[in-house]
Symmetry: C2
Subunit: 207 residues, 2 copies
DNA sequence: GTCTATATCGGGATAGAC
DNA sequence: GTCTATCCCGATATAGAC
């Protein structure tokens, strides 16, 4: 290919992004994507060789963005509270762009656990940063800023509160009969909800 | 078929349960299941007509159990705190039996949102109970027992904290290098973690 | 680079013998 | 009820013309 990232190649990739990560149609066929992009299906193969590779390109790109942003925040020199705030913010920003990314992550790691290393710990110092972060959580509990529990439980709470509303979005939207706009508002509001809960700063009515 | 639920039929169903809900192999083929059960693949069709119907049988059965248990607890006359406790307990018990049920739920509703009504609100008074529960949450906030936020946010927190560790289990297990046993212990511990967080009863070190 | 035509393959499903 | 053989189809993938 003469020009790297030709116009058509770009178009196909962006369409795949749209279909997979914004619409959540994880089983979309090459034909679906070709139709959505308005190109001949053969071109997907011409540029990306296989459906798998196209999927992977799109998925890994989005994943890398999320991973590296979290990596940066966790490894930063911020104090605990602003660090958690930055983490929530970063997560939210990426997920707004790729609403189904979290669903895909859980799915992929489910079906190809052998790719975990490649997908999640490739950033330099990834494991160490994680350990340090757990230490920071522990230290904060010592200081009495946040409730005491096993640091890993705090970590799980953090990502549960952040990720679940995205993973279960279709379910929750149906359950409470919420429009896209209404749900987006809920997601935005969660920023303060999650922070208050995680930083133990919630006010009850009597306080 | 002369005998309802013949031995072979039972065997196939239980194997499907094992493969789908306990091992999380949601893309398992009819051949995979036949092999696991040690029967001829044709028998799956003989008893369940299609892969879809076999899948559905297993999935709906587990889902019905979870749904009806939650339904019962939410609709019970328990006071708020014991009600939340019962909810956490019920959820945990079902998920121990079907570790991947939550993953399947989010996935299914994702791919067939039109089946939401059929799958989730078929129990009598389902919608009303949900509304009543939200009211109870609201009232509890008025009483100052739990932090103030939109009731739906509290509801999302509840299920996020309960469901996420199951949905993201493969990821978390890899991330922290935990054995099955170690992870199960984490899950058991979550009962108190989640309750403390939800009921706002956590103690920090200084308290 | 883009198209049409065609090959290939896996998996679901059924007919019919036993 | 269980098996073998076969059919069918959708989806991926490639060859080769333009």
């Amino acid at each position: 290919m003469a020009v790297k990232d030709s116009k058509t190649e770009q178009l196909i990739k962006e369409t795949a992004q749209q279909v997979f990560l914004k619409e959540g149609r994880m089983l979309a066929t090459t034909q679906d994507i070709a139709d959505a992009a308005g190109v001949n299906r053969t071109l997907l193969h011409y540029y990306f060789r296989s459906r798998d590779q196209l999927f992977d390109t799109v998925f890994v790109e989005a994943l890398t963005e999320l991973r590296s942003r979290i990596h940066d925040v966790i490894g930063s020199q911020l104090a605990f509270v602003p660090k958690i705030e930055a983490l929530v913010q970063a997560f939210l920003e990426v997920l707004v762009q790729h609403p189904f990314l979290e669903t895909f992550i859980t799915l992929q790691i489910n079906q190809q656990p052998e790719r975990y290393e490649e997908l999640f710990v490739q950033l330099p110092g990834g494991k160490e940063r994680l350990k340090t972060f757990l230490k920071e959580i522990e230290r904060e509990m010592e200081l009495g800023t946040i409730p005491q529990m096993k640091p890993i439980q705090y970590f799980i709470n953090l990502f549960a509160l952040l990720a679940y509303p995205h993973i279960a979005r279709p379910l929750l939207q149906k359950m409470f009969d919420l429009s896209d706009t209404a749900y987006k508002k809920i997601l935005q509001e969660r920023k303060t909800v999650v922070l208050a809960l995680l930083l133990h700063q919630y006010k009850t009515k009597d306080q």
